[in-house]
């Protein structure tokens, strides 16, 4: 199995991007905002895929970097009226810095221990968001985060321009992460996933590769967090909590780890299931659960993983 061989995910991904861009103007604003949410969640899921799918490190604390960036934007935009670039750079840098710090602790562990350490570190960020009231406004959250003004003829406050804005960001993130995954660095990560000892024997610095993957992944999670803050206009500890991390992990697992486009697909499925099924029944969690179980039983490598021919 080699994730770089199949061209199908790229075709599907480009197709989905073009289709989304083409369909958007005809959509009413509610489905459009959901589609915007899918694009943001897709960036987050793809960032985690670098860790989970390519490096084989399942992180349960990805909401920490996502949330750190969202908080950075929330605080800068409301208290300092910071503009587009300041928010974007500060958000991504802070998330990257948080990942660089946490990575030092987390990368020593593997398997279940890695899950537990990332979970604990994620809770640290949640605790800060919840308790550092003077900075984060605690449980009440930061409301009224304005969307950036790009001096374009269209205001990003309207759903359609904002959707295109996010779609471009998602496409850029996909291209960047895809290039990374195909680079020699990315291939090394996959080698580490398959056999750490063999890679070490070949002379690769396994720790450094894993650490860099962790930091890059955190940075891109932060990139998603920046847009999330603009999208909702609101940041609260809920964005940083464990449920967000778990949901991201499920998106990747559902779509197919090691296929960036698959993670995006997983994000789309979960966002739409959550928002559409819950309209019809209070028991929507049951249906979501059934979908997870179905995927695990019938397509253990995720939806896109299952579409991949031929199996090893």
């Amino acid at each position: 199995m080699s994730p770089t061989s199949g061209r199908r995910p790229i075709v599907i991904g480009v197709g989905a991007l073009v289709a989304a861009a083409a369909v958007a103007p005809t959509l009413p604003s509610y489905p459009l905002t959901l589609l915007t949410q899918v694009a943001i969640m897709a960036i987050l899921a793809m960032s985690l895929d670098i860790l989970l799918g390519y490096t084989g490190l399942p992180s349960l604390g990805h909401a920490a970097y996502f949330g750190t960036a969202a908080y950075a934007v929330g605080i800068l935009a409301t208290e300092r009226q910071a503009g587009f670039l300041t928010c974007l750079v500060a958000g991504v840098l802070l998330a990257t810095a948080a990942a660089a710090l946490f990575g030092l602790v987390a990368i020593r562990a593997t398997g279940t221990y890695f899950l537990m350490i990332t979970l604990a570190l994620g809770m640290v960020v949640w605790g800060l968001a919840f308790r550092w009231v003077s900075l984060t406004k605690g449980d009440n959250g930061i409301a009224g985060v304005p969307r950036p003004d790009l001096a374009l003829p269209w205001s990003l406050a309207a759903p359609l321009p904002f959707f295109y804005f996010v779609l471009v960001a998602a496409a850029l993130a996909w291209a960047a992460l895809g290039t990374l995954a195909r680079s020699p660095f990315g291939l090394t990560l996959q080698g580490i996933r398959e056999s750490e000892t063999r890679m070490r024997a070949l002379g690769y610095d396994v720790w450094l590769h894993k650490y860099l993957a962790f930091v890059i992944s955190g940075g891109f999670a932060g990139f998603a967090g920046v847009f999330w803050a603009w999208y909702n206009g609101f940041v609260s500890p809920v964005d940083v909590q464990l449920v967000t991390s778990v949901e991201t992990l499920l998106m990747v697992a559902l779509g197919g780890p090691g296929t960036l486009a698959g993670s995006a697909l997983g994000a789309a499925v979960i966002v739409f299931l959550k928002n559409f099924v819950s309209v019809y029944t209070k028991r929507w969690l049951l249906i979501l659960g059934a979908v997870y179980i179905g995927v695990i039983l019938f397509a253990p490598r995720g939806v896109l993983g299952a579409l991949r021919a031929p199996h090893r």
Partner: protein
């Protein structure tokens, strides 16, 4: 072949129903759509259900219509999550074209929706969300609160304690989040101005499993203890307070939710004697409340909590406003003005009207837990009529002070 036929007929049916709706009736007699948010999954699901029940009960009582138009309620699950609440509101506003938005339970949901509601200009009421600043330092133009503001019952409560008890040194323990700060802070503000002292303030995390370490810290030289908890924590705190042998020694006072009717039926004798303050009690003795109690018990099979009363009275409030505009809910400005003018001479919780900031001026009840006819109830022992969210302060002076918080008012008498 059959599959194609099924798909085709489904598509036709969908087309037919979607076309029929706008053609069916002129706007004036079309149903009035009300969007209703409540947490129906997650830890607050039970409260969410109470909220839905109260709302449905009132609308059923008036036959589901007003001013010649049917009322259609679209209930959405906000999961107690601000991002979900925003999503669902977008759905209700953009797709369902609701005329009025209502519901919501948690403070962060209230703050998250506020900018969206003001941008969309949707007349909205908050029956339960109590965070002070929504009608104080950050008032929302399009939101009318039909419930209460968190510190509203606590100002008169402190006044009552000063006038009717000898407690002058009180130790406070509350949940470590905004709701806890505003409850304890409101009490402290008035209590200390009247000569009392808060001698200790303990903030317990929301996921506390054992109160023993906190109970051990409580100062035994204080005259009484003021506590604020909700749900599971309320049950556990009151129980452990008795087990620690504190009940006989340090009288227990509390914010209203510590004995509200979502937890009271599950409490035992340990709760008897607890004194709290809130804008409602299920045991309140007035004809409107008697009628509400009877109808609610008949339909839901249990006694109503303040959450049910909140959405019941909220539904009535909305209906009164719709009547006032003659059913023309499409005129949003007029509807908003009507919502702000509602004046209920008698409701299940007493007379209600709105102040200039969109918060009710209402009675505050000092309640004591007693066992009556075999079950526990919050017996009303004193009534403060027509209490404003600003108590006796001038609004602008009141709002110059910071919002009650973890460190405000400062704990001057703490050691």
């Amino acid at each position: 072949m059959t599959r194609i036929r099924i798909v085709a007929s489904a598509v036709l049916w969908a087309l037919a129903t979607s076309l029929a709706a706008p053609l069916g009736a002129p706007a004036q007699s079309a149903p009035i759509k009300i969007g209703f948010l409540a947490p129906l999954t997650g830890p607050f699901a039970q409260i969410g259900k109470d909220m839905v029940n109260g709302n449905q009960l009132y609308l059923a009582e008036i036959g589901g219509q007003v001013a010649g138009r049917k009322i259609e309620v679209l209930v959405e699950d906000d999961e107690g999550n601000p991002a979900t609440a925003l999503n669902k509101s977008r759905k209700l506003v953009d797709q369902d074209k609701i005329s009025i938005l209502t519901g919501g339970m948690l403070a962060n949901v209230g703050y998250a929706l506020q900018p969206y509601i003001d941008a969309q200009k949707i007349p909205t009421t908050y029956p339960v969300i109590a965070a002070d600043d929504i009608t104080q330092r950050k008032p929302a133009k399009w939101i009318v609160r039909t419930g209460w503001s968190t510190s509203q019952p606590m100002h008169p409560f402190a006044d009552w304690v000063l006038k009717n008890t000898k407690y002058r040194k009180i130790a406070a323990i509350g949940m470590d989040y905004a709701f806890g700060y505003e409850i304890i802070g409101g009490f402290q503000q008035v209590f200390e101005e009247g000569g009392g002292q808060i001698v200790q303030r303990i903030w317990a995390p929301l996921n506390t499993n054992d109160f023993a370490p906190f109970l051990a810290q409580l100062r035994r030289d204080s005259d009484a203890v003021l506590a604020l908890f909700t749900g599971r924590l309320a049950l556990q705190f009151v129980k452990q307070y008795e087990e620690a042998g504190l009940k006989g020694k340090l009288p227990l006072l509390g914010g209203g939710t510590i004995t509200d009717e979502t937890v009271l039926p599950q409490m035992g004798d340990e709760a008897i004697g607890l004194i709290t303050a809130l804008h409602y009690s299920q045991a309140l003795d007035n004809p409107a409340n008697a009628k509400f109690n009877k109808a609610f018990e008949a339909s839901a099979g249990k006694i109503p909590s303040y959450y049910s009363e909140a959405t019941y009275t909220n539904a009535r409030w909305i209906v009164e406003a719709i009547k006032a505009v003659g059913g023309k809910v499409e005129d949003r400005d007029a509807l908003l003005a009507a919502l702000r003018r509602v004046d209920l001479k008698e409701s299940a919780r007493g007379p209600l009207k709105v102040d200039d900031f969109g918060n009710p001026i209402q009675n505050i009840y000092i309640r004591k837990v007693e066992r009556v006819g075999g079950r526990l109830q919050n017996t009303v022992i004193a009534t403060y009529p027509a209490v404003s969210q600003f108590w006796k302060y001038k609004p602008d002076e009141y709002m110059k002070r910071p919002l009650y918080g973890r460190d405000y008012p400062p704990c001057r008498y703490c050691q």
